[in-house]
Symmetry: C2
Subunit: 327 residues, 2 copies
């Protein structure tokens, strides 16, 4: 069987079954299966995460530039660190480049990484450069620590929790679509697609105010997929009020221009790098006071292991995980 037939998540599950340490190793807090791995070392739990961006798969130089690519390659990892409630510290950068790559472009990529690292207090301390046959690929590893002592896992949600999300959904998809269809305007969306903002400041603000977050994941594949990951890890389901999804007017406008459904962009678009969290009603109110319009309650965790979407017309249908699939 080819991996294209098995599918991405089934493949990961089978790999994980082989690689999971036979006996739980001392010090591992969270192994394969969350936004980042967590282990004990010294004072506070350490997190470690890796993500790759490959030309032709994750990006296309027709729609981005080398500096933005560098920013994004680090930012998507910082988003995973944010989803653990951790603070990033160090990064390693593994570059795979074709021989014909232009030196100045590679240095612009490095500049993008540097800027993102400077903005989010992450130092690049090592890496690797090797040749590829034809396309660029950037694989970044980030280490960090949970300064508040406890990582936010996908698996901690409880039935009755409020499901909430930061920022706006579908904005990255809006930007990419506007770039592909050469729509004028939509600058904020285009920029968000090229240079996503990891929500480190917001999650740390919540943790600083002792908001008790039960579960957290970043929205990288798409809300529908990432909520499914959170539900599966927590062995619960969810009811999502689609009418409450935080969708910008720009997204609605671009979707109308393209005759697309803006809800599908918000659900399946992916690459928003917002944080999807669950918490009790009381903690949500506290969080809402802190983040204001940047936090939106979109549903409730339920005991039944199914994810239901309530559409604005009142119809309720199972919400299929429909985000990006590699295979």
């Amino acid at each position: 069987m080819r991996i294209g037939e098995l599918g991405e998540f089934a493949l990961i599950a089978r790999i994980a079954r082989i690689l999971k340490a036979p006996a739980p190793r001392k010090g591992i807090v969270q192994g394969i299966g969350d936004d980042a791995a967590v282990f004990h070392a010294g004072r506070s739990p350490q997190v470690l995460t890796v993500d790759a961006l490959t030309e032709g798969i994750h990006f296309d130089f027709r729609y981005t530039d080398a500096e933005s690519l560098g920013w994004k390659a680090l930012a998507v990892n910082l988003s995973d660190v944010a989803a653990m409630g951790a603070s990033p510290q160090f990064a390693l950068v593994a570059l795979s480049l074709p021989r014909h790559a232009v030196v100045d472009e590679v240095l612009r990529l490095a500049e993008g990484i540097r800027r993102c690292g400077k903005t989010f207090d992450t130092a690049v301390i090592g890496g690797n450069v090797s040749r590829s046959q034809s396309v660029w690929s950037v694989t970044v590893t980030v280490s960090g620590e949970c300064r508040n002592g406890r990582p936010l896992l996908r698996s901690g949600a409880r039935a009755g929790d409020i499901v909430c999300v930061t920022g706006r959904l579908g904005l990255s998809c809006t930007g990419l679509t506007a770039l592909k269809k050469e729509l004028a305007g939509f600058e904020r969306a285009k920029r968000r697609h090229r240079r996503p903002v990891p929500r480190l400041a917001w999650i740390h603000e919540l943790l600083r105010h002792d908001v008790r977050i039960h579960a957290c994941i970043d929205v990288s594949d798409g809300l529908s997929s990432d909520l499914a990951h959170l539900c599966e890890a927590s062995r619960l389901g969810a009811l999502v009020d689609l009418g409450r999804l935080p969708i910008e007017s720009g997204t609605r406008k671009a979707a109308a221009l393209c005759r697309c459904n803006p809800y599908r962009w918000a659900l399946d678009g992916g690459e928003d790098y917002e944080l999807l969290m669950t918490m009790s009603q009381a903690e949500y109110l506290k969080a809402k006071r802190i983040l204001g319009a940047q936090l939106t309650a979109i549903g409730t965790m339920i005991g039944r292991r199914t994810i239901l979407g309530v559409w604005p017309d009142g119809s309720t249908r199972p919400l299929k995980a429909g985000g990006y699939r590699h295979f």
Copy 2:
């Protein structure tokens, strides 16, 4: 200018200039420029390293199998950890696979990683799977700690130090050549090429006996290149007695069959994953008593910043760094 014109090490130097933290960040012991990065976290210094193996560049499925590839992808990182005098702890695995990859082959790759991890006490705690357009690529990150408190850097060599190397040189190149030319036999060399052995046990044995190693690097690019890296980091030169290079009879035999110079294989072959170290004469004698035939003195560090090779015929010529170059 294309990176093919600039060259691998000049490119790395230019990237490093951009990425190096403007102010030395608290906690960084060794940033870009050694086998692994080192930083302080908790009790002992932590190391972090990353390496990628890409199909068509680093390996070819005509000469290796998926399980060996998995082993090697982890082992080459463990070799970097060994070169720091550290102990590996955790690994992240980022796989990039074409849609047509066969599931069972991917699982065999995972099995190879698992076996190598089990052998060298390293737990895989996370990773990433994404699609590639056509070739396989495996990028492994390994974290570890310097239990003896101090990492072994490339930069600590002193003039007058003995230069010594573990194991045999040119064995991996012998194996690859035997595979390519379909030479029967040479099984040990072929296996060594496919499944290199990180020298963790040997370096820890030396450290356990308090052998004071001034500088250390693993031989991945090739002795001539890696000695040049060590000399550059230490701002010294070296005199290498080529007649003393630890070359197996199998390597000499295969080289004779192919009308090749076995010294070139030992100098430039690369992928031996042995350790190249420098230490005082007294410490070398101590180390030699511990490792016996597995340690060979091959030269001396000199104050003049040049690397000279003394050939078996008595002629002395500058030793050009001739190992593998990506660009």
